[in-house]
Amino acid sequence: MRTIGARAGAMLLTLWLAGLAGALLVRLGPGFGIDEQELDPRLSPQSRAALRAAHQNERHIARFYVHSVARTLRGDLGVSQSLGRPVAELLRERFPVTLRTVALGLAVGWAAGLLLAVADHGARSAAIDLAAAALSGGLLCLPASLLALLFVFLGAPAALGIAALIAPRVFRYAHDLFLSAAASPHVLTAWARGLSAFPILVWHILPCVRAPLLALAGVSLNTAFTAAIPIEALCDSPGIGQLAWQAALARDLPLLVNLTLLVTAVTVVGNAVCGWKPAGSEAV
C-alpha cells in the first residue's frame, strides 16, 4: 500500500513538474503572446492593444500556473485562446480519435515488428535477415507523416503511419535482444539438447528479454502519441495531435499545458505499468 502510495505521489509530482516546465518553455519561447491578427492593417491601435492584453494573464507564469492547477482541481481546464472553446470540451472531442489512431498504430506496429523479429530469428537465414533489415531500415528512413499521407492516398487509415514508425524500432530492439540472448549458456544448452527454435524462443529467450521489451512498450506509447502530432496535422485527422500542432503554432498556453499534462500522464502511467515488478522479485 505504501509503495503504491509512494508511486502515485511520485507520478503526481512528475505531472505537476511537467505542466510547469511545459508552461515555462512555451512562455519563454519566441512568439509568445503574438496573434497573427496583429498584421491586419484594418485593426485600430486600440484593438491591437486589446489583442496583446488578452495574453496579459499568462505573462506571469508562476501565477498563471497556480491558477491553472487550482482550476484543474475544480474540473475546469481553461479556455483555448486560439479556438475560443473550453479545453475540456476540445480534449473530450478529440482524444478518442487519437486514442483509436494510436491504439491501432501500436497494435499493428508491435505485431509486425515482433513477427518480423521472430521470423528472422527462427529462420536463421542470411537472406531473410538481410530482407528484414532492409525492410525495417527502409521504414525508418521514410518520414512517418509522409507514409501516413501515402496510406491516406491509398485509402488506408493514417494510423498505419504510426505502425510504420513503431514496427522497425520494435524489430531492431527485439532482433538484437534475441541475438544476444541466443548466445547465453542456457540457450546454447537447450540447442545442444535438441529443442527446436520455437520452444527455445518462448521458454528460454523471451523471459530474458521481457524487461527491456516491456520498457520499450512503455516508451513506444510516448513515441506513438508524439508521432500522432505530425501525422494528424498532415492528414487532417481531428485528434489531439492536430490540436497540439495548432496550439504550438498559436502559442496557446492553456491548451499546450493541458496537452503536455495529458502526454506526461500517458507516458508516466505507461512506463510505470510496463516497468512494474512485484514486491520481492528483485534479489538485490
Binding site: 512568439g31 491578427q37 496583429e38 498584421l39 486589446a50 491516406v152 498532415l234 498559436a250
Partner: protein, 530 residues
C-alpha cells in the same frame, strides 16, 4: 441590372440547354476551423467565408465587376459630408426563422458592432474617430446611421456587415449553419426564407446545402477533387495547378492577379537592435532601389509561380481596377544600374564581395516564414541575384509567431519577405500602413514625426484622400502615394501572384474572382448539373 446581366445570361443559357437547377450539395474545403460564428468578431478567412455565405448585407461588392450592388438595402444616400448614410430597406424580407427584417435590426447590428468591447477589422473599419455611432430608425424600412467623422469609401464597408437580430441566431443570407463538427466539417443548409429569386421566380439558393470540410493539407484537398469528392478548390498553388491541368484538363482556372503583392522591406527603425552601419544602408533610397533593380522579377514569376504571377510595381495590383496606378511600371532587372546606384553611395566591389565606403562587407539577413515553399524559393532566388552584385544574403526562415514578434515588437531583424494583407479594394483600409505614426508602417512604425520628407508627403496625401468623398479626387491623391512608393521603395514590391482555382465542369454559373470568396461569392446562383 446591367451588372447582373452576364450572370443572368449565363443562367438563362444553361437553363435553355434543358438543365434545371435541382438541389444537391456543393462540396468545398476550408483551410482551418472558423474561430467564430459571430459576424461582428470575424477576423480569419474561414470565419469570413461562413459570414459571407450566411450573412445578409445591406450593400454587396460584386466580386467580378467590383461595383456596388443593392442587397438588403434597395437604395442609399450619403450626406452630412460623408458622416451620415440613409438606407431604404428591401421590403418583405425575413430572417431564416421567419421573423421580419426591419430597420431596428440594422440599428441593433451597428450599435453592437460599434460597442467598445468589439475588436475586429470589421468594427475598426467604421471607427474613423472617437465617439458613438447614432442610428435613427425612421420607420420599418428606413434607417440612418451617423458616424462621428466622415469615412471615405463608406458604402463599401457595408459588404462586411452581416445584419443580425437581437437575441437570435437567425440569418438573412442564402445559407445557415446546420451542422458543425469541429475539426471535421461544417454543413450549411439553405435558408428557406432567403429573399432572392431567379427570373423564373424560383427561390434561391439553387443548391440545398454546402458542405465545407476542414482541410489544411492541400494535397489531400487536391486528391479529393481528383476523386470527385469536391466540386471546387479556391486557392491552388502553382504546382497543383500544373498537376491538375494535366490530370483533369478544364478544371484548373487562372482568375488573374490577386490583390496582395509579395514584398521585401528593410528595417529602418531607429531603436532596432541591429548594427548602425546596416541601418545607414537601409535608409538610403539608392540602396533600396539598387536591391530592387538587382532582383529578377521575371524569374520569380517563372520559376516559383510557373508563370502564374507578374512583376509588381506598387501596393495596388491591376486586379484593383479603379485604384491601380496603371501608369507605373515595375523596375526592370538591371544589375548594371544597380551597381551604379550603389557606387553613388560609396559601395565598391572587392573581388566577389561588395563593400561599403568603410570597407565592411555588405551582408545582411532576410527573414521569412517557414513552411511557405514559394517564399523560401523566392528568398533563394533573391539570394542568388544579390550575390551577382556582391551582396551576401543570409536567408532565415522562422515560424510565423517568431517572425511577427521580430517585425512588430522587438524589431530584431534586418530585412523581411512577406505578403501584404490586402482584402479591401479601397486604399483607406491601408491607412495604418502608410501613415508614419501608425503601427503597421512596417519599415518604421509609430513615428512621432515623419522621419523623411517623403513620408510626411505620404501622410498628407493619405489624410487628404481619407477626408475627401469624391473618388476621382481621392484617386489622384493615392496615385501620387503609389508614385512616391515606387521612387523611394520602402517596400520593394516583387510580384502579384495569380489566383488559381479549380472548378468541376458540373458546376454551373461559377465565375472565379480574385476577391474572396473566390468561387463562392455568388453561391446562391451556383448549381450542379447531373
Amino acid at each position: 441590372m446591367k451588372r447582373l446581366l452576364p450572370l443572368l445570361v449565363a443562367c438563362a443559357l444553361s437553363l435553355a440547354g434543358g438543365e434545371i437547377p435541382n438541389g444537391r450539395e456543393l462540396r468545398a474545403c476550408l483551410r482551418s476551423q472558423p474561430k467564430t460564428f459571430d459576424p461582428a468578431l470575424v477576423a480569419d478567412d474561414a470565419s469570413e467565408t461562413i459570414r459571407y455565405l450566411t450573412g445578409g448585407v445591406l450593400i454587396r461588392v460584386n466580386r467580378v465587376t467590383q461595383a456596388l450592388e443593392p442587397e438588403l438595402a434597395v437604395s442609399w444616400k450619403v450626406s452630412g459630408g460623408g458622416r451620415t448614410i440613409r438606407f431604404r430597406l428591401r421590403e418583405g424580407v425575413a430572417f431564416s426563422d421567419g421573423s421580419p427584417f426591419t430597420a431596428t435590426d440594422v440599428a441593433f447590428t451597428f450599435q453592437r458592432l460599434m460597442s467598445p468591447e468589439i475588436h475586429s477589422p470589421t468594427a475598426d473599419s467604421f471607427r474613423s474617430a472617437p465617439g458613438a455611432v447614432r442610428s435613427a430608425v425612421e420607420n420599418d424600412h428606413q434607417v440612418a446611421l451617423t458616424f462621428p467623422a466622415p469615412i471615405a469609401g463608406l458604402e463599401r464597408l457595408f459588404d462586411q456587415v452581416a445584419i443580425v437580430r437581437s437575441g437570435s441566431n437567425a440569418v438573412l443570407g442564402p445559407f445557415q449553419v446546420a451542422e458543425n463538427k469541429p475539426g471535421a466539417y461544417i454543413r450549411l443548409a439553405r435558408n428557406p426564407h432567403y429573399w432572392k429569386k431567379d427570373a423564373q421566380g424560383r427561390r434561391l439558393p439553387y443548391v440545398d446545402s454546402i458542405r465545407l470540410d476542414i482541410q489544411q493539407n492541400r494535397q489531400l484537398e487536391l486528391l479529393k477533387l481528383e476523386r470527385h469528392q469536391l466540386d471546387l478548390v479556391s486557392a491552388l498553388d502553382p504546382e497543383q495547378f500544373q498537376e491538375l491541368s494535366t490530370a483533369l484538363p478544364g478544371w484548373a482556372r487562372d482568375a488573374g492577379p490577386a490583390l496582395e503583392p509579395e514584398v521585401l522591406w528593410f528595417n529602418q527603425v531607429a531603436r532596432a537592435p541591429i548594427a548602425e552601419y546596416r541601418k545607414a544602408w537601409f535608409r538610403s533610397a539608392n540602396f533600396r532601389r539598387a536591391i530592387s533593380e538587382a532582383i529578377h522579377r521575371d524569374d520569380l514569376c517563372r520559376l516559383v509561380f510557373h508563370g502564374h504571377a507578374r512583376p509588381a510595381v506598387g501596393p495596388v495590383s491591376p486586379a484593383n481596377r479603379f485604384w491601380c496606378n496603371a501608369r507605373l511600371k515595375p523596375h526592370p532587372y538591371d544589375p548594371v544600374s544597380a551597381a551604379h546606384r550603389l557606387a553613388q553611395d560609396g559601395f565598391h566591389k572587392d573581388g566577389e564581395s561588395l563593400r561599403d565606403r568603410d570597407g565592411r562587407v555588405v551582408e545582411f539577413s532576410l527573414i521569412t516564414n517557414s513552411g511557405n515553399r514559394a517564399r523560401e524559393r523566392m528568398a533563394a532566388l533573391i539570394q542568388s541575384d544579390l550575390r551577382a552584385i556582391g551582396i551576401r544574403l543570409n536567408v532565415v526562415t522562422l515560424d510565423f509567431p517568431s517572425l511577427i514578434e521580430r517585425i512588430t515588437r522587438s524589431f530584431d531583424y534586418e530585412a523581411s519577405l512577406l505578403g501584404m494583407i490586402n482584402t479591401d479594394l479601397d486604399p483607406n483600409s491601408q491607412m495604418n500602413v502608410w501613415l508614419s505614426s501608425a503601427d503597421q508602417h512596417q519599415w518604421n512604425p509609430n513615428q512621432k514625426t515623419p522621419a523623411t520628407p517623403w513620408e510626411a508627403e505620404i501622410d498628407r496625401l493619405m489624410r487628404l484622400q481619407a477626408s475627401t468623398l469624391e473618388n476621382e479626387k481621392r484617386r489622384t491623391y493615392f496615385d501620387r502615394v503609389q508614385e512616391i512608393a515606387r521612387e523611394q521603395e520602402p517596400f520593394i514590391y516583387l510580384i502579384y501572384k495569380d489566383t488559381l482555382v479549380a472548378v468541376s465542369p458540373a458546376l454551373r454559373n461559377v465565375q472565379p474572382s480574385v476577391l474572396r470568396p473566390e468561387l463562392l461569392w455568388n453561391a446562391e446562383w451556383l448549381w450542379l448539373a447531373q
